[in-house]
């Protein structure tokens, strides 16, 4: 890739920032650049990355999804509770159930977005409040402790596909979470690149009316996007559960800002039609670095939200300034095209 093209892509800037930031952390704290820390980062950020794939799909179709985190927690909490009550100790069961819940809730989102043509932000704001309120009221508010957790979930969380020895004889490894993430990334890539539905997502994000006239089934595409995002959220819910070995119905909710920030940083435009999976993953890496490694450079966690805000503002500013200069500042951008 030549240099000029490299600097035209917003992903490149994210990559540069990641490299600079990593170098900065390494200088202050050399413990950062070890394989162990890298594996640890991959393990803890795989869940966010999976959520980000769903948010990314919604974003390139021209919408915003703030309900993904709620769907994840509903999938996780409901399925782990049902699992304990039914006495079924199988990782396949909990994944299947959680993904199914995600698909159903995603389909409800799709009904409002596609059939009633409501603005996606308002729909997902409404449904996230609806789902979370309904779960807390009708299903329960008690957290599930590690003692009550089924064995299969616990052993899944510590399962490594690659194990390496430390100097003192103990071992560390690459978690299975990362393998799931990679598998989902590959599937999503193929769907986006080589299927009619996938091309349709870009098409309706670029221009809904044009996509319709070109023969895309926009309703089917919308249903695919939101059910797939729901499915991913369901998977993420279980991964999060086996990562922290604790299920609190108020966890995950409220982190959607970080996920959306990650996707937008990766260059996906909220007006739809543009964005790449590579960019999204780079965005997730940057946000994870900011979230998890502020302590390593000696800043307290209170700075987290502040830095995410700053990075998000800078990131979107660069993306949109580029767009503005590309068309010579002719377009009048003051209205959000949803």
């Amino acid at each position: 890739m030549n240099i000029k093209r490299f600097f035209k892509r917003s992903e490149s800037y994210v990559l540069l920032i990641i490299i600079l930031f990593s170098a900065f952390i390494t200088i202050i704290n050399p413990a950062f650049l070890t394989l162990e820390n890298l594996f640890d980062l991959l393990r803890s950020s795989s869940g966010t990355a999976i959520l980000a794939i769903g948010v990314f799909l919604v974003l390139i179709s021209g919408g915003v999804d703030v309900s993904c985190t709620t769907i994840a927690i509903v999938g996780q909490y409901v399925s782990v509770n049902l699992m304990i009550r039914a006495g079924i100790d199988s990782i396949w069961f909990i994944f299947g159930l959680s993904a199914f819940i995600g698909i159903v809730l995603g389909a409800i989102n799709a009904v409002f977005v596609s059939l009633f043509k409501l603005p996606t932000l308002i729909v997902t704001l409404g449904t996230s409040s609806l789902y979370h309120g309904a779960m807390l009221e009708f299903f329960g508010t008690r957290a599930v402790n590690v003692g009550d957790l089924p064995q299969s979930v616990k052993s899944f969380g510590t399962f490594n596909v690659l194990t390496l020895p430390r100097a003192d004889g103990t071992t560390y490894g690459l978690s299975i979470f990362f393998v799931i993430l990679v598998a989902l990334l590959i599937i999503t890539y193929f769907v986006l690149k080589f299927t009619m539905v996938g091309r349709g997502i870009y098409a309706i994000g670029g221009n809904l009316e044009a996509a319709k006239r070109a023969g895309f089934n926009t309703r089917k595409t919308h249903f695919f996007i939101y059910t797939y995002a729901g499915f991913l959220a369901g998977i993420m819910g279980v991964i999060h559960l086996s990562l922290i070995r604790y299920s609190n119905p108020n966890y995950i909710v409220g982190t959607e800002l970080g996920v959306i920030a990650a996707v937008v940083l990766g260059g996906a435009r909220i007006s739809g039609g543009t964005g790449t999976l590579t960019g999204t993953m780079l965005g997730v890496i940057l946000i994870t670095l900011l979230e998890k490694n502020l302590i390593m450079i000696g800043l307290s966690t209170y700075w987290q939200q502040f830095f995410i805000g700053v990075v998000l503002i800078l990131g979107v500013s660069i993306t949109y300034l580029q767009a503005k200069f590309q068309d010579g500042g002719r377009t009048i951008i003051v209205k959000d095209e949803e």
């Binding site: 409002f112 409501l118 603005p119 704001l125 409404g126 807390l136 700053v310 998000l312 003051v334």
Partner: protein, 339 residues
């Protein structure tokens, strides 16, 4: 052309009025003794202004076709600063009145740069309002958290508490504040060039630009007004609670959007009026108090707000579709009779 000062004849307001009356009627039937008691009326009148101001702010942003997700964060940030002045000032020997004046002045003064950041990002950089305000939400809330380290600040001078819980001629002071705020916003919308241009930009920014409206200036002003309204809300919040903690009032964001949409504003811009908003606020407050008295859990309320938001939007959409269908049918009729 002038936009009517008090657009009661807005078509949607007719239905809204009926729904509002129905809500009140249901509450009257379910709680015949308590609902109309002086205590309940007073408590309702002092509860809604803090999110009423946020709703006013949200409506202004929506009229221009934007949205302001940073209102609660702005209120949090300015509120933290005010709380610091109100607690540290008297400790350092400052007279309470001076501290109060200083706190209120600094809240308003801080709100202006907050609004400017939003406005500049949207108008000059060209970032969509959702993203710009999502980013500043993180920024302002982050600042508030950094300043307080996540802890709450409490115990303000007694005189300051009058704003939140005092009565003037038997009427809660916050209610009077809200009335003044509403009149000011109504005047801006209906009697100034700023207001008229805001409706124009919301309906069609390109047309507005070619009609000689300075879009960027109007947008920036809108978000500054929005931030100031959020700051007023923060003063009420901290005065009512007698404490401040970052994250306080985060549920107001959804409620503000709900009320504004319920009140007839269009998220695509160009619509939104004060009477509709007021009726929606009354409706929300009546339901809120009713559910409170009937001892429903906060989760049910969360569920109901989400449900109500979706229901209202769906009804609006269906009504609009039906209207379009009728109009097309009528036009076809005219076409067939004339040919």
């Amino acid at each position: 052309m002038k936009i009517p000062f008090f657009k009661f004849k807005e078509p949607k307001n007719k239905y809204l009025f009926i729904i509002m009356m129905l809500t009140i009627l249901i509450m009257l039937v379910m709680l015949p003794d308590i609902f109309l008691s002086q205590v309940n009326i007073r408590s309702m009148a002092s509860q809604f202004p803090e999110f009423g101001f946020l709703a006013l702010a949200m409506m202004l942003a929506m009229i221009t076709g934007g949205i302001d997700l940073s209102v609660v964060a702005t209120a949090n940030f300015t509120g933290v600063i005010a709380a610091l002045i109100l607690t540290k000032g008297p400790e350092a020997g400052m007279s309470p009145i001076l501290a109060i004046v200083l706190a209120i002045a600094s809240v308003i003064a801080l709100a202006i740069p907050c609004g400017l950041i939003n406005g500049i990002l949207i108008a000059f950089v060209g970032v969509p309002p959702i993203l710009a305000t999502l980013g500043t939400q993180g920024l302002f809330l982050g600042l508030a958290t950094v300043i307080t380290k996540g802890l709450s600040i409490a115990n303000f001078p007694n005189q300051f508490l009058f704003i939140g819980s005092g009565y003037l001629f038997g009427v809660p002071f916050v209610f009077i504040l809200f009335l003044i705020g509403t009149i000011v916003v109504a005047l801006i919308l209906g009697r100034t060039q700023q207001g008229f241009s805001m409706y124009m930009i919301g309906s069609n920014p390109t047309v507005a630009r070619y009609s000689g409206v300075n879009n960027s200036k109007i947008i920036i002003k809108t978000y500054v007004i929005t931030a100031i309204l959020a700051a007023v809300s923060s003063i009420i919040m901290i005065s009512r609670a007698n404490s401040m903690r970052p994250g306080y009032g985060s549920s107001y964001l959804l409620q503000a959007i709900l009320v504004v949409v319920l009140g007839g504003a269009d998220p695509d811009g160009g619509f939104g009026n004060i009477p509709g908003l007021l009726m929606a606020i009354v409706m929300l407050q009546v339901t809120q108090s009713g559910l409170n008295i009937l001892a429903f859990s906060p989760f049910v309320r969360k569920f109901i707000w989400g449900f109500a938001l979706l229901l209202v939007m769906t009804i609006n959409f269906t009504a609009q579709q039906y209207g379009d269908y009728k109009r097309v049918k009528k036009m076809r009729q005219i076409a067939t009779t004339t040919t």
